[in-house]
């Protein structure tokens, strides 16, 4: 019962990353779509919540796979993944990122940690790999939203 409704999609109204592409992510739950983010922004956050307006640095670039988030090649060993995680922690963890971008670095680091959680667990990694392979083949052409969907979905689905 406790786990009866974990969120199966990205955070509906708090996500600090505004929609990245005009194309809606393909199979996201229909009820709550990205425009909500901006809608709720005008509602709640106003000026005192700068985090909702900031665009994390690494997110402004193309949507990334978990491997891209961790900056490791697809065939990376678990040692590589651990080292990459620590190296990125040293740059992106809010404690080191500097006070001017604490909130955006928190989002960034949560993504890095989620990617690390999946890729450092052999079982989760193989599930992710299969899923990435399956999804990417038919859709590689012309869909820029895909990577972001997969990435986001996993980020919220997975352990942390």
């Amino acid at each position: 019962m406790l786990s009866s409704s974990p969120t199966s999609f990205a955070h509906p109204f708090l996500s600090s990353s505004p929609p990245l592409s005009p194309i809606s992510p393909p199979s996201r739950t229909a009820r709550i779509s990205p425009p909500l983010v901006s809608a709720s922004c005008s509602y709640t956050c106003a000026e005192d919540s700068p985090r909702l307006h900031q665009i994390p640095r690494r997110l402004t670039t193309a949507p990334a796979s978990l491997y891209e988030i961790l900056e490791v090649p697809l065939g990376a060993t678990s040692q590589d993944i651990k080292s990459a995680y620590r190296r990125l922690a040293r740059i992106c963890h809010p404690d080191v990122a500097g006070t001017d971008r604490t909130s955006s670095s928190a989002d960034e680091f949560m993504k890095i940690h989620a990617a690390y959680c999946t890729l450092s667990d052999p079982e989760k990694r193989s599930v992710y790999d299969r899923r990435m392979l399956r999804r990417s083949r038919p859709l590689t052409v012309g869909t820029s939203g895909l990577g972001s969907y997969v990435g986001r979905n996993w980020e919220t689905d997975q352990c942390w």
Partner: protein, 526 residues
């Protein structure tokens, strides 16, 4: 030392930034304080290493107590007791770390009722009545006040020795402390003129010290992936804490934490109660038998922590034992057995490790750089306790589970239990119990303006966010099926909101509203 600047800087809140921008070369280095149930210590980074300060009696470990004997209360920092008997007259208040932030229904408070000063409980969920005996009358006080008096003395002692004002501090706290208890510690610090930069769970301070030692001994492991797994067991007079940490290249990743308010104080009381003083010395077996529950709890904490960390016993590189109780042979045997290790890590002083770690964190968070890289450290923290809401009747539904990496953000969906329910109560708890009564109440707020609809239709999203400085915010939004916009403005509340008398509040809410404003978890139709 530019003393003038510090004097000016301590005058108002917003000068912290001015200070750092105007004198980047001289940031104030936060001191580290380990408030123990029975002893405290204070340390600071002196530019090349951690230096533990000593009081006028040349002690590094300072007995934690305050006496109300004279007009002005005096803490154990400067005050010399004539003899130990004075602790027993009722004029001295101690064990404040066990009492702070607890209500009078708490078993730990009940266990404190045989202390020589007054601890009175009415069992209604308010703060206990605590008082010292002064000239045959009870002088009431609070754990916050006692701690503040003590901290003022510590601060004055540090200022005299460091020859500068001391304002910023990093304190170590037990893993099992609720966020409400943390606010009480912050309150005591504020009363003492101290600004809290970090409240570190004790074993994570030790993990930081360990990370520094590892980095100093193996210079080339930065990024090489050769991480070391350590189990940290910390048991003092009042609390027992465990952490599992993965360390490499100065980064200490806390994989799991576990803690419980058991400690040397319980062992002492059990031993005194069951083994009559006039008898000859208690045999080892007798000692183990009367304290069996305490030892079982120690073992349980380590087992739980290893399981939460998903660590195999065979992968443990080091077992670190600190705190006064780590000297007890039985405790050492238990921990060695659980971790299947013959040796305990020898690199740390069990009575100084926590304060040293706190002082390191003080230097790191103050932005101090060390040319030799010994402050090139980072702790990736985890939540020691789950935070969640009351739903499905009297159940505690965790939104952020324990041992989630910090910063963290998670959410869950709930729905109404009544037809046309217009309002809902969001009651936030922290802890591990299945029912709300077993957990700590952090606060509550109401969502209003839910559109009329059959029960189970409105979607109430509760999101919790813990930032890197461990601040918890709760967001609540109401959505209707088919609509993508919240129907009422999203509410954002910083927790905790409760002040005193929190057990009482929960009961009062129940009496007033019953189940009319309840929530249940939303069952999604897939």
């Amino acid at each position: 030392m530019a003393e003038q600047e510090y004097t000016v800087a301590s005058d108002s809140e917003n000068t912290a930034e001015e200070k750092s921008s105007s004198s980047p070369s001289l940031p104030e280095i936060a001191v580290g304080i380990d408030i123990g149930t029975s002893q405290c210590s204070i340390a600071v980074w002196n530019g090349s290493q951690v230096h533990i300060l000593r009081n006028t009696r040349n002690q590094k470990l300072i007995k934690s107590f305050v006496t109300f004997k004279d007009e002005v209360p005096a803490g154990g920092v400067s005050n010399q007791l004539a003899h130990e008997q004075e602790m027993l007259t009722g004029a001295a208040i101690f064990n404040m770390k066990r009492l702070i932030g607890r209500v009078d229904t708490d078993p730990v408070v009940h266990a404190s009722k045989n202390l020589p000063f007054l601890v009175q409980t009415l069992d209604i969920g308010v703060r206990p009545f605590i008082a010292a005996l002064v000239n045959n009358a009870w002088r009431s006080t609070t754990p916050e006040e006692v701690l503040a008096i003590f901290l003022v003395e510590l601060r004055l002692m540090a200022e005299a020795q460091l020859k500068r004002p001391v304002r910023n501090v990093v304190l170590t706290v037990p893993v099992s402390f609720s966020r409400f208890q943390l606010t009480r510690i912050e309150r005591a610090c504020a009363m003492a003129g101290l600004h809290v930069l970090r409240l570190m769970p004790e074993p994570t301070a030790i993990a930081l010290l360990y990370a520094q030692q590892q980095q100093m001994t193996t210079h080339d492991n930065m990024g090489s992936g050769s991480e070391r797994l350590a189990v940290i067991f910390n048991m003092g007079a009042g609390y027992c804490d465990v952490a599992v940490t993965a360390t490499a290249g100065g980064v200490s990743q806390i994989k799991a934490l576990a803690g419980s308010p058991i400690g040397g104080e319980d062992i002492l009381q059990n031993t005194m109660r069951h083994i009559a003083p006039p008898n000859e010395e208690a045999s080892g077996l007798e000692f183990e038998e009367v304290n069996r529950k305490v030892f079982e709890e120690c073992e349980r904490l380590v087992v739980q922590c290893l399981r939460d960390a998903r660590v195999e016993v065979g992968d443990i590189d080091d077992v670190i034992m600190v705190g006064g109780c780590s000297y007890i042979p039985k405790v050492r045997t238990i921990i060695k057995n659980v971790c299947k290790k013959d040796e305990i890590y020898k690199g740390v002083n069990p009575l100084e490790a926590a304060v040293r770690g706190a002082a390191l964190e003080g230097a790191v968070t103050s932005g101090i750089h060390d040319p030799f890289g010994s402050l090139d450290l980072l702790t990736i923290q985890a939540t020691p306790l789950a935070v969640g809401v009351r739903a499905n009747g009297n159940k505690f539904i965790p939104v952020i589970p324990r041992n989630t990496m910090v910063p963290a953000r998670k959410d869950l969906f709930f729905t109404t239990v009544q037809d046309n329910q217009k309002e809902a109560l969001i009651i936030i708890y922290e802890g591990e119990g299945e029912t709300v009564e077993e957990n700590h109440l952090l606060g509550y707020f109401k969502i209003v303006g839910i559109p009329p609809a059959p029960k189970g239709v409105p979607e109430i999203n509760v999101c919790m966010d813990i930032d890197a400085s461990n601040a918890l915010r709760v967001f609540a939004a109401v959505l209707m099926p088919g609509s993508s916009t919240p129907v009422v403005p999203v509410i954002e509340v910083r927790m905790p909101t409760v002040d005193d008398g929190h057990g009482w509040c929960a009961q009062a809410l129940n009496v007033k509203y019953g189940a009319t404003l309840d929530l249940i978890t939303l069952q999604r139709k897939m």
